[in-house]
């Protein structure tokens, strides 16, 4: 029990570090994924915009709890040069259409990462190294600025689950504030 507690504590501290550390130096990894209509969407098409990325699966309970709030965020911020995408990991087009798109009626792209390669590209290198890189990214949220710099990355923290995206919204509001000289 003590060993398990120590492991959990170590993981928690690592995750907090990822959440709070500066990630301005990390750029959005390039990707090219198909949406649910078969259109190829490239990461470069979001250049010049703020981009919110949510990495999900249809069965992930936290992804499902967050989904309506993601749509709300998009509705509230799309006029402010903010785009939103979901990257679904290792699932078929039909399944994602049925269980995710038809259920939540997203008005932003849902992209299919059929082998998890793209999700893995976003993963911090030294966090939970014993897990596969795509698995560690499930239910995470990433905010990228118009220059392609990652400004916010939150991995799933079940105990402090932020379904309503309070942290992400706060960072977005901060970045959208006009610069004061």
């Amino acid at each position: 029990m003590i060993k398990s507690f120590s492991s959990c504590l170590a993981v928690g501290l690592l995750l907090l570090m990822v959440d709070s550390m500066s990630v301005q130096a990390q750029k959005i990894p390039s990707f090219s994924l198909r949406d649910l209509d078969g259109n190829l969407i490239e990461s470069g098409s979001f250049k010049g915009k703020y981009l919110v990325v949510h990495i999900a699966t249809t069965w992930c309970p936290f992804c499902n709890a967050e989904a309506p709030h993601l749509q709300e965020l998009y509705d509230g911020y799309k006029s402010k040069n903010v785009s939103v995408i979901i990257i679904d990991v290792k699932e078929s087009q039909d399944l994602v259409k049925e269980k995710l798109q038809n259920r939540f009626q997203f008005t932003f792209p849902v992209l299919l990462d059929s082998d998890g390669t793209v999700a893995a590209k976003f993963a911090p290198k030294d966090v939970l190294p014993e897990l596969s890189r795509d698995e560690i990214m499930l239910a995470s949220n990433i905010l990228i600025d118009p220059n392609g710099d990652i400004q916010f990355l939150s991995l799933l923290d079940s105990k402090n689950f932020d379904a309503k995206l309070v942290g992400l919204r706060a960072k977005l509001d901060e970045l959208l504030q006009p610069a004061h000289d």
């Binding site: 029990m1 060993k3 398990s4 120590s6 492991s7 959990c8 170590a10 993981v11 928690g12 995750l15 699966t57 249809t58 069965w59 992930c60 309970p61 936290f62 499902n64 709890a65 967050e66 290792k90 269980k99 995710l100 259920r103 939970l128 014993e130 897990l131 698995e135 560690i136 499930l138 239910a139 991995l155 799933l156 923290d157 079940s158 105990k159 402090n160 689950f161 932020d162 379904a163 309503k164 309070v166």
Partner: protein
């Protein structure tokens, strides 16, 4: 044994201990607890209580999930000549998803699957293996994990009808 060998051995032990603490990749998060030796007479029925233990800090979805998007825990059993009734899972616990309004039912710690096994009249005397696969999707306090499966086996001793 000289000092160098002792040093080497102690370093190896330390590394093994550290590795275990960090968390070497595991095949799964549920272990089969097994059952005590069970026997049944030909023509009779015996009730099995299959025990499973979920790793500390983890939970798996209930066998009856509230949303059809969740992956329920399922069990597949093969009686190899013995007739198995529908398995019955033990009770679940509610789990609240952070600051959302959603609660899901999960298994944590130990849970059991009860199954009645009927031994037909034409059963051969001796050991019969019951093969099973538990399908589950786990989360812990920090992550959710891709679905996994646990294969297990237990043995029933078939005895003659007295």
């Amino acid at each position: 044994m000289n000092y160098f060998n002792l040093l080497t051995i102690s370093l190896l032990l330390k590394f093994t201990s550290l590795t275990a603490q960090v968390g070497v990749a595991e095949a799964g998060y549920v272990h089969f607890g097994g059952i005590s030796e069970v026997s049944v007479q030909v023509g009779d029925t015996v009730h099995l209580n299959l025990a499973f233990e979920i790793q500390d800090g983890f939970h798996i979805q209930s066998n009856k999930v509230s949303g059809d998007f969740l992956i329920p825990t399922k069990i597949a059993l093969a009686g190899n000549g013995l007739a198995l009734e529908e398995p019955v899972f033990s009770a679940t616990h509610p789990f609240v998803l952070g600051d959302s309004d959603e609660t899901k039912d999960v298994f944590t710690g130990k849970f059991f699957v009860g199954v009645s096994v009927f031994c037909p009249d034409n059963s051969t005397i001796g050991s019969h293996a019951i093969n099973g696969t538990l399908y589950y999707q786990a989360c812990n306090d920090f992550k959710c994990f891709f679905p996994r499966k646990l294969k297990f086996e237990t043995v029933i001793l078939v005895e003659p009808d007295h």
